[in-house]
Symmetry: C2
Subunit: 285 residues, 2 copies
């Protein structure tokens, strides 16, 4: 999808979050924000929100002189999610359709803000997520497609959430599939990198590769040959989160092949996906 005018103030909002996360003082926050305003005026309106967001985020990092403001919070999210992991596995046992439940657990990692939380707060929210359906649900189609493929490409999203994804990866493996899990090549917001994948042992269950860049979502102008090949030849793709959706939904290659698994966190994405804000979805275009 293309960036809209509503993305513009959202780039700035995201920059403020980054600066707050980095503990930048209020004066400097204003200074950097004002510089960033001039910078975003030059953005390509035909680019995806994910791509433009990346430019805004990396510019903010540059202006702050801090390259990974989410380092600490990513570690905390991973630790919390790892602490939850045994409970997630037990929950999975309670449901008949393991694959469907694992999809819901995986998206719950996207729904629940793991930022700075204690694990005991989360169980209620998790139950709620598991009992809430996808407002757009192509699970039957996915299940059908899955029968005819040997491998699945899994486009990951955030740290912490990656542990929830692992539950889904493990279910895919039980069904005899090979999984390639994709992380970012460098720190950008709280997105998972190779370091996170190794920290949560994703590399023990799946082949882990990076996109070859620090871009949010998928940037066709900024990817490694390895990732380009994986994207081209994968018979079936699970795409987590908004940035991946923003990056891929407009392409023919996504039709019936990429299944988007996400919580809808903005009105513009809701419009494009044909659902409502805050909905949780699993669908292909």
């Amino acid at each position: 999808m293309k960036a809209t005018v509503d993305c513009v103030h959202c780039y700035l909002k995201q920059a403020v979050s980054c600066m707050r996360m980095a503990g930048v003082d209020e004066d400097t926050q204003h200074e950097i924000l004002f510089k960033l305003m001039d910078y975003v005026k030059g953005f390509d309106r035909n680019a995806t929100p994910a791509e433009n967001s990346t430019y805004a985020v990396l510019k903010t990092y540059e202006l702050m002189g801090i390259d990974d403001p989410y380092k600490e919070v990513k570690r905390q999210s991973n630790d919390l999610a790892l602490e939850l992991y045994p409970r997630l596995k037990r929950m999975l046992e309670e449901y008949e359709d393991k694959l469907y439940t694992a999809l819901k657990i995986a998206v719950a990692g996207n729904v629940i803000d793991l930022g700075i939380r204690r694990s005991f707060d989360i169980e209620g929210e998790l139950r709620y997520s598991l009992n809430t359906g996808f407002s757009k649900d192509h699970y039957d189609t996915f299940r059908q497609k899955l029968k005819n493929v040997d491998e699945v490409l899994f486009l990951g999203d955030n740290a912490g959430e990656i542990v929830f994804d692992k539950i889904l990866v493990e279910e895919l493996i039980k069904l005899g599939k090979r999984v390639t899990y994709v992380v970012k090549d460098g720190p950008v917001l709280n997105d998972s990198t190779m370091e996170d994948a190794i920290y949560v042992d994703m590399d023990k269950v799946a082949r882990v590769i990076t996109t070859g860049s620090r871009f949010l979502g998928v940037s066709f102008n900024h990817m490694s040959q390895e990732f380009a090949d994986a994207l081209n030849k994968a018979p079936l793709i699970i795409s987590k989160g908004q940035a991946n959706f923003e990056s891929l939904e407009q392409y023919d290659m996504a039709r019936g092949r990429v299944f988007f698994l996400l919580k809808i966190k903005c009105d513009e994405v809701a419009k494009v996906a044909g659902v409502a804000l805050d909905d949780v979805v699993f669908f292909t275009v």
Copy 2:
């Protein structure tokens, strides 16, 4: 309260809402937004968010060449609320403490987005509002103070919502109080003006005055003598909505005299009020 760095991107977000409401095309929206970015850089960081928002909104109106983009939607909100009015009155009858219920009805007008809705959607939300308590509740103190006063100053907020306020005004009158209801002196967002007050017959039950300006909330630098006097001498004040809270919470004159009735719609206000985002509150500082 003072504006924060998070207010900055919010001014721009609000401008986009205004432009969308006015049906401005996407190219012009970008153009105006970029001009506005330069404009907001000059804002006084010691001003309230309500004051700076007003400057941003009125600048947007000027750049669009449209003076009242919310005219139509305000009319719709009033019509919808007037259609609901008999049901609101019947609901009130179901509860023992009429004043407390009328406070909740009044704030429900702030909670429910009356924008473009059909009345039958709203009843459920309304019931939910009535059954949900205030997360910060100084009703007992208010009730006590009310006993010793003859009149109440009521700082209004939006169109549509003004009909819900009328229910509360009528309960105050039943208790033998005189009410002065305050609207804006000209159109700014969907705030009530004298035109709205007359349209919904608020002038039949209360004395209606304007703030003397088009500023959101209360601007001490932009008010009529009539409003300044009313504000100074009122023994008890009900203040609806965020902009009025942002304007008054820091003043000694508010302590134990101004009772803020609102839904908390942003994190910064939540912080200052000491409550959570989305909470509904009735309290004095």
